[in-house]
Amino acid sequence: MAQTSWSPHPRLTLLQQEIREGFFFLFPAVFLIFGITLFPIVFTFVISFTTTPLSNPAPQNFVGLSNYWSFLRNVQFWQAIARTAYFTVVSVGAELLLGLGIALLIHARPPGWAFLRTSLIIPWAVPTIVNGALWRWIYNADYGALNGLLYSLGILQKYRPWLTEPMTALNLVIVADIWHSVPFIALILQAALATLPVELDEAAAVDGANAWQRFWLIRLPLLRPAILVALVIRTVEAFRVFDIIYVITQGGPAFGTVTISYLTYLESFSYGRLGSGAALSFLITLFTFLMAIVYIRLLYRPEFRE
């Protein structure tokens, strides 16, 4: 009789045992996530109410909301927001259209489709910084490939600088981003296309729907979940764009390609104002959480569950 009390968990029910084990399984992950993400987010929020300098980085000098107020009155801030919005809308929009086009093309199985699908993986796998360095060299004013190509084809009579005008520079950064990111959307959408039931499409064809109608009325609605997920992921990424701008333009010419992330970097680590840098980064976090809520709601809608 007494022997039974020697079993490891004498009075635990099965469920209690599961919870106990779950705690040990989850502990390392929860500990790490708390320490390196949740705690820093709260810490950032606290620092954003101070004027902590980079040279002496311990939270100090509480100033309330003044970092936030000064940004709201700052032209540079609003310009960075506008540029970020432009970058996000144009690059994600173009990537989505091109990505959908390429996915449909692959799905139609033209000669060489498998090679095309494999090739898409290359730009996607090239590291962002290499992508930036490469395009910076392509756009080079004196020896770059863009000048060389246009000159060889007779389109340009003489070499011209590409990155000296803010709007052109921003658009060319977008082109580099498109090269890198279209494959992501194309691969996701072509995988989604492959899982769609063919019966609907065939039935519609029998009923006399043309290719265009079948696309708009059948495929596009069925693809909507995949499109929305790709859209949210890319929007979050484009909104925080930093690496590629750092390499291609360093925010120039004349701050013409400074996005909100770049401005945050400048505030914190070039001007050494950690407090206002933290205020800016908190605004970025806020936007990200809004997008995360959209994303989660999308994932939990019935049409998204298999």
Binding site: A29, G112, S119, A133, S281
Partner: protein, 286 residues
């Protein structure tokens, strides 16, 4: 009539296929070309699209210390090693910690499980810039700046939630019957994870390992902020430095670019199947 229309649409599709392939490969061609040209040929106007004297000298310069001109080029192979160390360690930790957590989230009946799911989904999207200031302050206080360990720890902030998410998605598809049979035989949960889940979900593990490695290899911002000496500097930072201080050293920059791109591109091509299935399982690398 119908034949003619089909031929026309095939021709049109072929045209677009070739156009897209050209857009994909033109920059790659220029990258590789720049890495095997001599500096003199590279600076020709208009450029020589096919080099007269292709050379591997640039690769020798950058990989064998002592021969290269600039400091970044001389220390490039060290940064390459740092990148492997950091990305490899991040991947290993993510797989270990992520498997445990992913299994618990996929299978165990736990209070707050849904809340945890949402937290993981949410932190997966938090940008690095939102974490960098506190992490910098902490790293400075504990004298961790310029050490590989600071990158390994901070990379977990984006890699771990991602790995947990992906692994538990794969674990959910493991048949319950296998698990129940082992439980009845008296296996422990840890034994079940190792003997059933890891083997059955092996493709998912490979997929997760690949994505985690690529994410860590690609990372630039934390490396830029937390490292400034070659003790921990990674490849992306070295390449960014070529563009900054050594604006003229284009052959070295492009050669470094090829070397930095090779590991992820080769991995992605070899494990193509896993990449596509991983993307569908909800990847975040864009």
């Amino acid at each position: 009539m119908k034949h003619w229309r089909r031929a026309r649409s095939t021709a049109l599709m072929l045209f677009f296929t070739v156009l897209i392939l050209a857009f994909i490969y033109a920059p790659i061609f220029w990258l590789v070309l720049s890495s095997i040209s001599t500096r003199a040929e590279l600076l020709a106007v208009p450029p020589r699209w096919i080099p007269e004297n292709p050379t591997l000298k640039n690769y020798r310069d950058i990989l064998i210390p002592g021969t290269a001109v600039s400091e970044v080029a001389r220390t490039f192979s060290v940064t390459l090693r740092n990148s492997f160390l950091v990305a490899g360690s991040t991947t290993l930790i993510c797989l270990t910690v992520g498997s445990l957590a992913g299994y618990a989230l996929a299978r165990l009946r736990l209070p707050f499980r849904d809340v945890l799911w949402l937290v993981i989904l949410g932190v997966r999207m938090v940008p690095e810039i939102s974490l960098v200031v506190p992490l910098y302050i902490l790293a400075a206080r504990f004298a961790l700046l310029n050490k590989p360990i600071v990158l390994i720890i901070t990379y977990l902030s984006f890699a771990l939630p991602f790995a947990i998410w992906m692994l538990s998605t794969f674990f959910e598809s493991v048949p319950r019957e296998l698990e129940d049979a082992a439980l009845i035989d008296g296996s422990s949960r840890l034994g079940i994870l190792f003997r059933i889940f890891l083997p059955v979900a092996a493709p998912g593990i490979v997929s997760t390992a690949l994505f985690t490695f690529l994410l860590a290899w690609d990372e630039f911002f934390f490396a830029l902020i937390f490292t400034s000496t070659i003790a921990a500097k990674t490849v992306p930072v070295a390449i960014a430095e070529f563009t900054g201080r050594y604006a003229v050293d284009i052959t070295a920059m492009m050669t470094g670019g090829v070397l930095a791109a090779l590991p992820p591109v080769l991995l992605a091509l070899i494990f193509q199947r896993y990449i596509v299935s991983g993307l569908s399982a909800g990847a975040v690398k864009g």
